[in-house]
Amino acid sequence: MRRHISLYGLTFSLPLLIWQLLFFVFPLFFLIALSFWTVRNFRMEPGFDTVNWVTMYGRPIFWQAYGTTLALAAAAAVLTSALAFPCAYAIAFKLSPAVQRWAVFLMVIPFFTSYLVRVYSWQVFLSDAGIINVMLGWLGLGPFRLLNTVGATMIGYLTLSLPLVILLQLFSLIFVDRTLIEAAHNMRCGRLRTVFAVVIPSARVGLVIAALFSFILCFGDFVSPIYLGGGDPTTLSILITDTTKSGQQWPRAAVIALTMIATLLVIAFLSVRFAYKGREK
């Protein structure tokens, strides 16, 4: 052990450590201190005052936003997982390796496409005179109000997290032991039953982690709720951006951010525990 503490080793290991401590850990811990600061005459004053916590937690709008955000992100995680699964399943088990590679390559593309541009594009689809309503009009239907609805927010959330969830599910499904599936088939286990009794339990860790990532992404996203959902109902991330950008109420924004981090930690802990729990579902 002792000989590892050499100039050579430190040259490679220290820079990242220092950078992430200075600019990742400290900023996050700084939020804790900041949440106890006060704002007087538009100037922040260091101190220890619980006023921001009391103010924010005393506001019904905060708890409304909290409930909304939690519900929306949970719904998005469930919906994304449910919609992604048949797709990942089909890619993993029904496509030839060559097509599979293409499928993976194509699913990587959205990560390098601006999310903002994709959200703007959905506005074009969903607006009152947008593509979908025009097409419905040809059938003599509509126009329907599609934009500025919870459904539109959900489409944005799907746009954000579906590619990642499909890829994560796919990687966990590919590693499912095929002999188990064959064994199930040989025992005359039906198709659906094989999926629920063999495939899903074997891939559970990956499936839960995928859903968790979807939850985290949607929980923190402010673009879809604003530009597709119309900002109503308000989510915590909208509250943070509003509180930060209007005036100097950063301490209050810090309260929201810390509440979000605490929530995410609890959810992540519970999901990982559930993922690795014994065989029983």
Binding site: M1, H4, S6, Y8, G9, T11, F12, S13, L16, Q20, F23, F24, V25, F26, P27, F30, L31, L34, L83, P86, C87, A90, K94, A103, L106, V108, I109, P110, F112, T113, S114, L116, V117, R118, V119, Y120, S121, Q123, V124, A129, G130, I131, M135, L158, L162, I166, H185, N186, R191, T194, I216, F219, G220, Y227, I240, T244, W250, A254, A257, M260
Partner: protein, 272 residues
């Protein structure tokens, strides 16, 4: 061809599943394709039927000095972020590959976790902290924040390459009399060079697209994606499509370059 047992196969269900895959991809690519198509559409309000082919939105974007400012900032920031995060990521990947030490789990968590923190929280934390130490509101603050979220990507890419290396190569160099530094220069770096370049391009691409943290900390030195966020708040503008298509082509070029480099030598077997 198909690895599955003949027993549970029904062409109908298989066909339905394949159709479903197609629909899922259609959903994912619909906004990307629409943005591409409408960027060349003459009508101001994007709808169907389409107007005629036109490059006027590209010309409008190209003649906007603010866009050029944004592009300059984006490119400059992306280049610096790419180099710094690749260097940091390389160090972390090599540390993980070579050393075992107390607290390694914490070290790896620091090296890999940042992208999982929601960007609004990172943005706020960065803004508050950097303005406290007088580093906010300029390109440097965006660089600092982007390196935090980009270096994990570099670390992952380079670590994967190192795991494909014969673990006896480096000790062999030492036995032949090479110092640690010489072995690094003549063995490790040449072997990981494709991954280093790949990481460079991937981290640049990530930085090009990032808007939320940059929006919090950039002040007046907005990057192109932050400009797009501004356009989004304003009226409907096909300029977003033109910028989006441009950014897409830039990012994809970088990613494909990275992919070619990464798959250039040896099969990319994913061993942990």
């Amino acid at each position: 061809m198909n690895p599955e047992n003949e027993l549970n196969r029904s062409p109908l269900i298989d066909g339905a599943l394949k159709l479903y895959v197609l629909l899922a991809y259609l959903f994912v690519f619909a906004p990307i394709l629409a943005s591409f198509v409408f960027s060349f559409n003459s009508d101001r309000f994007p709808s169907i039927p389409l107007g005629h082919f036109s490059t006027e939105w590209y010309r409008a974007v190209a003649s906007d000095p603010l866009v050029w400012d944004g592009l300059r900032n984006t490119l400059l920031i992306g280049a610096v972020v790419g180099i710094v995060s690749t260097a940091l990521g390389f160090g972390a990947a090599y540390t993980d590959y070579r050393y075992r030490f107390f607290g390694k789990q914490v070290y790896l968590a620091l090296a890999l976790l940042p992208p999982t923190i929601p960007v609004v929280i990172m943005g706020l934390a960065m803004l508050a902290y950097l303005s406290r130490i007088n580093l906010s509101g300029n390109a440097l603050s965006v660089i600092i924040a982007h390196v935090v979220i980009c270096s994990p990507f570099a670390m992952a890419v380079i670590r994967l390459r190192l795991s494909q290396m014969d673990p006896s190569l480096e000790p062999a160099a030492w036995n032949l009399g090479a110092s640690e530094w010489a072995a690094m220069r003549h063995v490790i770096i040449p072997f990981t060079r494709p991954a280093i370049l790949g990481a460079l391009f991937i981290t640049m691409a990530v930085s090009f697209d990032e808007f939320a943290i940059a929006w919090f900390v950039s002040g007046l030195n907005e990057t192109l994606p932050v400009k797009v966020l501004g356009f989004l708040q304003g009226q409907v503008s096909p300029r977003i499509n033109a910028i989006g298509t441009f950014v897409f082509i830039t990012s994809m070029t970088l990613v494909i370059l990275a992919q070619l480099l990464l798959s250039g030598r040896g099969p990319a077997t994913d061993k942990e």
